[in-house]
């Protein structure tokens, strides 16, 4: 098991956290301390421009107390012992009255440490190596077609280290997320079109290579856009690629089952616990422990150890994903989904790696069932509507399918919309292989964090426009 490489000030502060928790719990039934550091680098390589940047650094301490149903927190920048002690004293004073609580055991708790594994760990590659690898992909893309006027390769390496301490937990983790995107920009007759392909996950550089076939597909995708048409708004038979399947899972039974929405009557799913919400072919899972998943972690920002949650099982809604506060409020099974944007934000119930489970129909057989329809394989964004159960997924383009074959006709952009249970109920074929995408997800229009969604190919009936 790899050992987490925590920043030195975090290592220095860790032994003091038990005393801080104990002091706060003199006046609060529950207290915890989180040390959180998020840092990383980005490399961008284009035809005439290269940039290396350190990502916005976010490193600090969160003191948490839960008393009388109110969560009180203080966020402090950096990891200075003096500042921590001062904040603990001030919070202790503000809390006022001592709580009724079972006396704590004197048993020492064992520290548990975790770190991302990878065959080619990012830290073992020099900055020069990473830059040169990006340049190589950029050069290969540029050479594919004379219409390529620019190619852009963007690499992002994020390291999240955290220490969580409560009365019963002493946890540390280092999670390294890598992500790369190769984009081709083509020009023809004064028009500009582009396409891209991203890769990534938690692990090492072994995830980030591109085959020539993959790079060719990026340029072909962009070239196709020159002849793209607007789609006639109507209901279509659709085959979704894994990325679009993932956004469908994320927007339908991802956001809609974040349990912090439940007590606020914000999620229609709350009324559907144990009820049918889709075809029997539909399984949806959220799994922060997914090996190599871009949004994987070992424990959440509230100290809950990661494990998968089956949200929808054979079309039946079984369970939501929770943060600590909503799980306590509603007396629900708590899952490891209490996540913060960074140390300056509160935890919410948030997705990790969310995906449709596999089926048994080959991709060829899914296409063969389409007499006239559209293949959606490149998504741009999606938007949730947990209350109304509307869904919108915007795709960069869609490809026409006639008699089970792609005709070469392309539509762009294409928006998929509908009513979640109806959309999920139309799923009549599920492919055998799950693939995951990487992205960033907000809660509404804020609280952005690394996220991943995916699934197999799906065959369904939806409205496109």
């Amino acid at each position: 098991m790899p050992v987490p490489q925590l920043p030195a000030p975090m290592i220095d502060l860790r032994p003091r956290l038990g005393a801080a928790v104990a002091k706060l719990e003199q006046r609060s039934p529950y207290a915890a301390v989180l040390l959180s550091s998020r840092e990383g680098i980005s490399i961008e390589v284009e035809q005439k421009e290269e940039k290396i940047s350190q990502l916005p650094l976010s490193a600090g301490v969160v003191l948490t107390c839960l008393a009388n149903g109110v969560l009180t927190e203080r966020s402090l920048p950096g990891f200075e012992a003096g500042r921590l002690d001062q904040a603990v004293r001030a919070m202790h004073q503000d809390l006022g009255v001592a709580p009724k609580r079972t006396p704590e055991s004197d048993e020492p708790i064992a520290a548990r440490d975790f770190a991302t594994a990878g065959k080619a760990p990012a830290r073992q590659l020099s900055l020069e190596d990473k830059l040169e690898r990006c340049r190589d992909i950029q050069r290969r893309l540029t050479r594919i077609d004379p219409r390529v006027v620019n190619a852009r390769v963007a690499y992002v390496e994020q390291s999240e280290t955290s220490v969580f301490r409560s009365r019963s937990q002493d946890l540390a983790q280092e999670v390294v997320r890598l992500r790369i995107s190769a984009m081709a920009i083509l020009s023809q007759d004064g028009q500009v079109r582009y396409d891209w392909l991203g890769k990534g996950g938690t692990g090492g550089w072994e995830m980030l290579g591109y085959t020539d076939e993959e790079l060719n597909s990026v340029v072909e995708g962009a070239a196709r856009m020159f002849s793209a048409e607007r789609i006639e708004p109507a209901e279509y038979t659709v085959v979704t690629g894994p990325g679009v399947s993932g956004v469908l899972a994320h927007e339908s039974f991802g956001h809609g089952v974040e349990t912090d929405l439940f007590p606020k009557e914000r999620a229609r799913a709350f009324d559907y616990l144990g009820r049918k919400v889709g075809s029997p072919l539909v399984d949806i899972v959220d799994d922060p422990s997914l090996d190599g998943g871009y949004a994987s972690y070992f424990f959440d920002d509230e100290g809950m150890l990661s494990e998968p949650t089956t949200i929808v099982d054979k079309g039946i809604f079984r369970r939501g994903i929770s943060d600590m506060l909503s799980a306590r409020t509603l007396d629900l099974h708590r899952t490891a989904n209490g996540r913060r944007q960074d140390f300056t934000r509160k935890p919410y119930a948030r997705m990790s790696n969310t995906f449709f489970g596999t089926g048994t129909t080959s991709v060829e057989d899914l296409f063969a069932q389409v007499d006239h329809g559209v293949f959606l394989n490149r998504w741009v964004n999606g938007m949730e509507d947990p209350q109304g159960w509307g869904i919108q997924i915007t795709c960069h383009y869609g490809q026409e399918i006639v008699h089970g074959k792609l005709t070469g006709r392309v539509f762009s952009p294409v928006s998929l919309s509908g009513y979640v249970p109806q959309v999920l109920d139309t799923i009549r074929g599920v492919g055998p292989l799950v693939q995951m995408d990487q992205g960033t997800c907000g809660k509404g229009h804020k609280e952005y964090m690394p996220n991943s969604s995916g699934g197999p190919h799906l065959l369904l009936q939806v409205r496109l426009g």
């Binding site: 421009e49 290396i52 500009v192 229609r268 209350q387």
Partner: protein, 437 residues
């Protein structure tokens, strides 16, 4: 404690291998309040303090090229090793040469609300109290969640060419979720807003507006099939204009990357202009606007830049770097949009039958073509005195084609990141019908 910015600046100034450098310290203090329908669930106090350092130096083995890199320092972190990393990174990259901006007169655009600076926690509590009182008096809809973020940020920028400047901002951000109806018929509205001063947030007025719209969503019908005039007002118009297409096509960075095909002197429209001529500025000089400021991340002064003059593209929004590369004026970072008043009173624009779109799920046009097909959260079919709400379906069109066929109101308003006509009547857009829910 030693001044961390001074330590970083001393370290940078002592190096002979740099073509230039910029150091910006940002110190943020804030209060956050989270409430459900009846009581406060979470209170948070937040402080953040860091320094961003940009270095510019010659590329390894090629003095005709330069490299740039950025590092961030947290409080208590030593500057030396971070700067060393930045220099090593920058030397390995290759870019055309450019220079950092030098000192210039900085505008005194107001961006600070003293009331927020004095006591952000009291400001948050006061806003929340007003909201709770308003929501208690409204039967048509009910509040279920409110989040308030009240912040004060001070920044200090120093660069190698002699800029040494300070600025400060206050900011209040809110998110409310409002419900109407019960059980299967329950609907909600998510309302978010960012402002820089308390005076620009009319809590009671916004509550009434959002509650009314939420109640309308409860009785809304499925979207009709429609092709004709569409009206956008206020924040919906701001969303439309700031949705990415104009920002991408006028961006110096996007032009240098060959993503934007726009060139100064060309019409921004591909066909005949049927509506009012389009004129538009990018500005950081609107008092208390979202992007208002004395200077940007590079130290360029806040300015008001004419982007489009009577349908003709004038210049890019360009940092010093891209201004050098494109041989255009340096206008600075992204800015708020300003459109001049139109010639038609609003009452006239909304008199004839039309569809009004109030909100979308996410209005996200393709950034280079402007094509869009976005789900409508709330719209109205307006005919005479009748306003029939609808929900679902898609608004389909193209941002640029729409702007080539628009009439602007003579009344103007300020909407956080847009200053201009309160109302726009687009000659022809399409609404596709929703699938019955």
């Amino acid at each position: 404690m030693a001044d961390p910015l001074k330590a970083a600046v001393d370290s940078l100034a002592g190096r002979s291998d740099l073509l230039g450098w910029t150091a910006v310290q940002r110190h943020l203090r804030g209060e956050q309040l989270f409430s459900d329908r009846s009581h406060v669930e979470v209170r948070r106090s937040v402080e953040k303090n860091n320094i961003a350092i940009d270095v510019l130096c010659a590329s390894d083995g090629d003095a005709a090229q330069c490299g740039a890199a950025r590092v961030m320092l947290n409080v208590g972190q030593e500057a030396g090793p971070a700067i060393e990393f930045a220099v090593r990174a920058a030397q390995r990259t290759r870019n055309p040469l450019y220079q950092l901006p030098g000192p210039a007169s900085l505008p005194d655009v107001p961006t600070v609300d003293p009331e927020i600076v004095a006591d952000p926690a009291a400001a948050a509590a006061s806003l929340h109290d007003r909201l709770m009182r308003s929501s208690a008096s409204q039967a048509a809809a009910r509040l279920t969640l409110a989040e308030w973020f009240v912040e004060h940020e001070e920044s200090h920028l120093v660069n190698s060419r002699g800029i040494d400047a300070h600025q400060a901002h206050t900011r209040l951000s809110l998110e409310w979720i409002v419900l109407a109806g019960q059980g299967e018929g329950r609907v909600d509205t998510t309302f978010d807003m960012d402002r820089r001063r308390l005076a620009d947030l009319d809590v009671e007025g916004e509550w009434d507006r959002v509650a009314f719209q939420t109640a309308d969503r409860e009785r809304a019908q499925p979207a009709p099939s429609y092709d004709g005039p569409v009206v956008l007002r206020g924040s919906a118009l701001e969303t439309f204009l700031n949705s990415g297409t104009i920002g991408t096509l006028t961006s110096g960075k996007a032009r240098f990357s060959r993503i934007s095909p726009w060139e100064p002197g060309m019409s921004v429209f591909r066909g005949e202009v049927l509506g009012d001529p389009l004129t538009m500025w990018a500005t950081r000089l609107i008092p208390y606007a979202e992007h208002a400021g004395r200077f940007d991340d590079e130290g360029l002064p806040g300015q008001r830049t004419l982007l489009i003059d009577r349908n003709i593209f004038q210049t890019y929004c360009a940092s010093q770097r891209y201004a050098t590369y494109l041989s255009v004026p340096a206008t600075g970072a992204s800015a708020d949009l300003e459109v001049p008043p139109g010639a038609t009173p609003q009452a006239e624009l909304i008199a004839d039958p039309h569809v009004e779109v109030v909100s979308w799920s996410w209005f996200s046009p393709e950034p280079t073509t402007g094509d869009f097909a976005s789900e409508i959260r709330l719209g109205y079919v307006v005919d005479g005195g009748s306003r029939r709400p609808f929900t679902g379906g898609l608004l389909v069109g193209n941002v640029l084609d729409a702007l080539a066929n628009v009439r602007w109101s003579s009344e103007t308003g300020f909407y956080g990141s847009y200053l201009g006509p309160t109302t726009a009547r687009f000659g022809s857009l399409q609404v596709t019908p929703s699938r019955d829910a």
